[in-house]
């Protein structure tokens, strides 16, 4: 009976699928990272250098991988790439393993400032991978003058209304409002949160949209002329249209850091350390800076960058001393609920 044969075929396929999904060979690590955030041939080069296999799982946002690790304990993963407030939260929840500096000699490649980051002095539970600022990215040919303040984003001139986007992620959305008022980006006082919330609700009226991922293409197409952006992302726009410029508002910015964390549940911690050591090598760091146009805290890598490249993408040349002037995002503890609620009220306002 043909139906039976089809069923048998399906069952056979299912068995293959089942066996393919379970179990990893020893000497193999699983990384979870954003797409395109590491060299494409990383796996081959890592294997050539250390003999260890690696597989990459992708996550689209910090929040998703955090949800998965908190619910699943991080089992099966060996290195996670998450932003600093989330690394801090993983540490507080007991889900991050201690970093053994003895296994990572390339830590010496880091800038001294990168070893003294506020959220983890001495890099005990994470290792920085990339860092940068958040500011304004705009079309210099479509915007008069230079927008130099967060107020340009929140209370723009009429000509710009309807052509502005802001970042959608709660921490950065609120940070813009906080910095505009001179508050800390880690502010937990409810009264101040409410003030910033009111500002942002008013600012919503001039916005085109909240956008975390395609704001630079909106700039390139002219749909938007001034966007709230991370500096590396702005470079993608600059690469397409050299009239696009990046500026850090005078009130200041935050210093965001993307980090590598080893889950406590990892069963291949030695190999995970080997991976982090490999990433901190001069070559990988330089690839990151050149290909995804982000700054890395890797002194050896940054020193190797071409001067012309730095001239085209000035924000890559920002020295660490200046970066450290930005406030670092910390996990907010109990105040996180208040931020999420404030953002809900902002997005729900009509």
């Amino acid at each position: 009976m043909t139906g039976m044969r089809m069923f048998a075929a399906v069952a056979a396929v299912a068995t293959v699928a089942l066996s393919a999904g379970t179990g990893l060979a020893a000497g193999k690590i699983v990384i979870s990272n954003w797409d395109g955030y590491m060299p494409a041939d990383m796996a081959e080069r890592f294997k050539a250098a250390t003999g260890i296999d690696m597989e990459v799982s992708l996550h689209a946002t910090n929040e998703e991988i955090m949800g998965k690790v908190v619910a699943g304990g991080g089992k099966g993963y060996d290195v996670l790439f998450v932003s600093s407030p989330f690394a801090e939260a993983l540490h507080q929840l007991g889900l991050a393993a201690a970093i053994d500096h003895a296994q990572i000699p390339n830590l010496a490649n880091l800038y001294p400032e990168a070893n003294e980051l506020e959220y983890d002095p001495g890099n005990t539970f994470q290792v920085p991978y990339a860092w940068g600022t958040t500011g304004l990215c705009y079309r210099s040919d479509l915007v008069e003058g230079t927008p130099d303040s967060w107020a340009s984003l929140l209370s723009p001139p009429d000509a710009l209304k309807g052509k502005i986007t802001m970042l959608a992620t709660d921490r950065w959305l609120m940070a813009a409002g906080m910095l505009n008022r001179g508050y800390s980006v880690n502010e937990t006082d409810q009264a101040k949160i409410d003030e910033v919330k009111a500002d942002l609700i008013a600012a919503k009226k001039s916005l085109l949209a909240y956008d975390d991922t395609t704001f630079y293409s909106k700039l390139v197409s002219g749909e938007a002329v001034l966007v709230h952006a991370w500096d590396g992302w702005c470079n993608y726009g600059i690469a397409e249209n050299d009239k696009i410029k990046y500026v850090i508002p005078k009130e200041g910015t935050d210093l965001w850091v993307d980090t590598m964390v080893i889950p406590e549940a990892s069963e291949n911690k030695a190999e995970a350390h080997a991976f982090i050591n490999f990433v901190l090598g001069q070559e990988t760091g330089q690839w990151v800076a050149e290909n995804i146009m982000y700054k890395v805290p890797n002194k050896a890598a940054m020193d190797g960058l071409d001067a012309g490249y730095l001239a085209s993408f000035p924000n890559i040349a920002i020295p660490p001393a200046d970066l450290l002037k930005g406030e670092q995002l910390r996990d907010l503890g109990a105040a996180q609920k208040a931020y999420t609620k404030a953002v809900s009220e902002i997005t729900a306002s009509q």
Partner: protein, 260 residues
């Protein structure tokens, strides 16, 4: 009624136009030479070439189809049986609530609950855990559709078959199933569609690593650079491949029903 027929058919074609408009955009952009969706810079099939050469994308597409096919098969079987069992009884609010629940529960809740549950049991994660999870909501949809087909079902035919000596199974295969077949088919198509496109539950219940990455998971992660023609090409290929798969299984399915 010729007039009504003409209007109906015109309406159907308008609906098709509406349904295919974004698909044409999507397929068109997959041939765009440049990477941005905002400007057409020339025709090129380079992106398709790049796709075929990328093993991870191909494997995630295959994973998606495996998950969809298996979970649809299981859910259609269980959902149909469930519908048959429920419709013979007196209406029960508790049962109805249970059967609607998978549709109502927000998928993030289901995703996190299932992951927590699997972790508690020490259950290994992989493609199989995605399949088990997808069956949950698929059962509800299949059951709901088959139930509508059973609402005015003439059970006397089934009774007659049994009275005349046919076993339960033969009766099911030769009498009941052909009568409810369009409902079962519709339910299966719905389940397949839901599974092929499902991201949240798949992301949370998948095992770590590439071997249990599905296409929606991959696409969601790739979106950070915007929708490149490569992604559009991928969507086009999966669509056409699913269509071929379903067409083929439909031909086979017809064999089951008519007994050929």
């Amino acid at each position: 009624m010729p007039d009504a027929s003409r209007w109906l058919r015109a309406h159907l074609w308008l609906v098709y136009a509406f349904l295919y408009l974004p698909i044409l955009v999507l397929m068109g952009l997959s041939f765009n030479r440049g990477g941005m969706p905002t400007a057409w810079t020339g025709f090129s099939t380079a992106w398709y070439g790049k796709l075929i050469a990328s093993p991870q994308i191909v494997s995630s597409a295959v994973n998606t189809l495996i998950v969809a096919a298996v979970s649809t098969a299981i859910a259609t079987a269980l959902g149909t049986l469930l519908a048959l069992g429920v419709e013979r009884r007196r209406q029960s609010n508790a049962l109805d609530a249970l059967l609607f629940a998978p549709m109502i529960i927000p998928d993030i809740v289901l995703a996190i609950s299932l992951l927590s549950f699997y972790t508690l049991l020490g259950f290994s994660l992989g493609l199989h855990s995605i399949i088990l999870s997808h069956v949950v909501f698929n059962i509800a949809f299949v059951c709901a559709i088959v139930r509508t087909r059973l609402k005015h079902f003439d059970y006397s035919v089934v009774e007659a078959s049994i009275d005349l000596g046919a076993s339960e199974f033969t009766t099911f295969r030769r009498v009941t199933l052909p009568m409810i077949w369009p409902g079962v088919l519709a339910g299966a198509m719905l389940a397949f569609t839901l599974s092929v496109d499902e991201f949240i539950i798949a992301f949370f219940t998948a095992g770590p690593g590439e071997s249990s990455t599905t296409l929606p998971m991959r696409i969601y992660a790739m979106i950070r650079f915007g929708v490149t023609p490569e992604i559009n090409a991928m969507a086009t290929i999966v669509m056409l491949f699913s269509f071929t798969l379903v067409l083929a299984s439909q031909r086979i399915g017809k064999g089951v029903v008519t007994g050929s």
